[in-house]
């Protein structure tokens, strides 16, 4: 569960402050598939960065599963990101020269729950869910765009996070591949996974149960 209350974010540009997010109130329930839409520069990515604990906010409140994010140290935020959030990015954000398996295992390197053998097993299970187990030993730079995004999804779900945050996940893909990826997201959501998709593409937003729009830093 994500609870956002009266959230504000400012950016310092030279001598002036730019009000990027204005009094955002938003609750996202477990199991929802939410699309955050809006024009370029509206504040979608800013909101995504804050929900993903990648950036700070200046006032208001953000709670993830009851944990207030403000005032937390970097190490605590990193732990929350590791345990609660799975990221799927437009540019895939994968280690190109490493194997698919290693990329999927990456979040598990930063927690102390599993040994190496367990990590490999979990990674293979995640690859099975996204349907590319046969690519496990290949290097990421040998894969197609669609395959890369599947790897990114596998990495995002390996830690059983509370929600998946996808920033324009189909931005670099063709129509058919985009549909495949969205179908994958739908399957995960059907299994109970909370998914938040940032997109400017209304066709992609239509896959989601709920849509919100940001304009000029406000929720409309």
């Amino acid at each position: 569960m994500i609870e956002i209350s009266k959230l504000n974010k400012y950016y310092q540009i030279g001598n002036s402050k730019f009000h990027a997010l204005k009094d955002i109130d938003l609750d996202i329930k477990d199991g929802e598939m939410l699309a955050v839409t809006g024009k370029s520069g509206a504040g979608k990515s800013t909101l995504m960065n804050i929900i993903g604990l990648l950036d700070s906010y200046d006032s208001g409140s953000l709670k993830i599963d009851g944990v207030e994010a403000s005032g937390l140290r970097d190490s605590r935020l990193a732990k929350l990101r590791n345990q609660k959030i799975g990221f799927v990015m437009q540019d895939f954000s994968l280690l190109e020269h490493k194997s698919v398996l290693m990329n999927v295992m990456l979040p598990l390197y930063f927690n102390n729950k599993y040994n190496f053998r367990e990590m490999k097993k979990l990674a293979m299970d995640a690859l099975k869910k996204v349907g590319i187990t046969e690519q496990a030993s290949k290097k990421v730079n040998q894969l197609s765009g669609g395959q890369k995004q599947r790897v990114a999804v596998a990495r995002a779900i390996i830690n059983e996070p509370s929600f998946i945050l996808a920033d324009e996940p189909t931005g670099a893909l063709d129509t058919q591949t985009s549909a495949e990826i969205m179908a994958l997201f739908k399957n995960l959501n059907d299994d109970g996974k909370t998914i938040i998709i940032i997109t400017h593409d209304m066709n992609i937003a239509d896959f989601c149960q709920r849509k919100i729009e940001i304009s000029d830093g406000r929720l409309i």
Partner: protein, 409 residues
């Protein structure tokens, strides 16, 4: 283990350049160690000859071309000159030695006899115990001062047994009592240099040696069981404190007529010259290598940070904190310096063990565990300095900015 795996997985991308840097840095450090060792050796030699007796002395070198051909006649000729010098007014004594060889623990060692002038001239050699007190005629076990790695485990007031080789190769075991010890770098007097450019380090040599008192009893004992020879044809002529300039001039005239001499001030001057001309010259290449390796380390550290920014943004997304992320970068660079330092420490330790076991001869250089401090100091300095730029680069480029940049690209 997992973190190590991730570290080495990332580090392996820079393996070749890292190995090259390790080699360059190791070679530079070892070269610096050798030159520093030589410099320490010369300084230590200067320290030993820096005393009131040698400051008021000349180093006499006989004219080799005027020596008779037969060895016995040479000894007689040299002894005559020495006795004549001793007879001059103003001469306190002649610091000379007589040598032989022996065996201890299956290793060949030197034997030396020091007279009173020698003990005065080289009093600073002694690091533990004392020089000789007079022995009574009933003492069967002569007192000795020991010097050398082979005697490291022998303590003062203990007895050791050495084997003496006589004229007809007969072997006699002789027990001696240790009253003094010369510690590392095991420098003992050596008069083999005949040159106007003689410097402090020329009077000392690193060796395993047993030093006896030059008295009648010891002389009789050693004459019976071994072959004593004159220590070359050079020695220090010590002047009395009230020796007048004219008395000194007479001695020097005699030395000029039978050979040549070097005044103490000239010896010091030669020593300083040796440091400036040789040591400083030899230091140029190692220092240059060290500077090159440090500059390369800084460059590679900075380039590596830029190269790895995207990779560490991905780590950040997956739940790695900025601190740990920077820690990985830090380790990737500092491991190069650490490995080079470790190699250097191993080199120093191995060299010391070779000296101690006698497998390697001494080479007018002091190599001990103090040298390691130099390596550690370089390691700390380099690790700190090579991380300044990467730290600034890392701090300036937050994961959000990297992601935005990549997105727009």
């Amino acid at each position: 283990m997992k973190r190590l795996h991730l570290f080495f997985s990332s580090f392996s991308q820079n393996l070749f350049s890292s190995l090259m840097l390790v080699v360059i840095t190791s070679v530079a450090l070892i070269s610096v160690q050798n030159v520093v060792g030589q410099y320490r050796y010369i300084n230590h030699s200067k320290y030993i000859i820096d005393n009131e007796y040698l400051k008021n002395s000349d180093y006499f070198m006989v004219d080799i071309s005027s020596l008779p051909l037969e060895y016995d006649k040479q000894l007689e000729y040299s002894n005559n000159i020495r006795e004549n010098l001793s007879a001059f007014d103003g001469v306190e004594g002649i610091a000379y030695t007589q040598n032989s060889t022996a065996v201890y623990r299956s290793t060949n060692i030197n034997l030396s006899m020091y007279n009173e002038s020698m003990r005065k001239a080289f009093q600073k050699q002694l690091s533990e115990g004392e020089w000789f007190q007079s022995q009574t005629e009933t003492d069967d076990i002569p007192n000795v001062v020991i010097c050398g790695a082979i005697f490291d485990d022998i303590s003062i007031n203990s007895n050791i047994t050495i084997k003496l080789y006589g004229n007809n190769h007969e072997i006699t075991e002789q027990t001696v009592h240790v009253i003094g010890k010369i510690a590392y770098p095991y420098l003992s007097a050596d008069y083999n240099t005949i040159s106007e450019d003689v410097s402090a380090q020329n009077f000392l040599v690193q060796a395993n040696i047993v030093i006896f008192d030059d008295n009648k009893q010891t002389r009789d004992l050693l004459d019976k069981h071994t072959i004593l020879s004159s220590l070359s044809f050079s020695y220090f002529v010590l002047y009395k404190t009230d020796c007048t300039p004219s008395q000194k001039e007479k001695v020097r005239d005699y030395m000029d007529s039978t050979g040549s001499y070097a005044e103490y001030d000239k010896i010091l001057h030669n020593t300083e010259k040796e440091v400036k001309e040789n040591i400083v010259k030899e230091m140029i290449t190692p220092i240059f290598l060290l500077i090159i390796s440090t500059v390369l380390l800084i460059s590679i550290a900075t380039l590596n940070t830029y190269k790895k920014l995207r990779e560490h943004t991905i780590y950040y997304l997956c739940g790695c904190s900025r601190k740990i992320s920077f820690g990985y970068l830090f380790c990737e660079i500092s491991i190069i310096t650490l490995v080079a330092t470790l190699i250097n420490i191993v080199y120093v330790s191995y060299t010391i063990s070779l000296y101690k076991s006698g497998q390697m001869g001494y080479n007018k250089s002091i190599v001990d565990y103090n040298n390691i401090f130099l390596s550690i100091a370089y390691c700390i300095f380099t690790v700190l300095i090579t991380m300044i730029l990467p730290f600034l680069v890392y701090r300036k480029n937050t994961p959000i900015e990297i992601y935005r940049r990549n997105r727009h690209d």
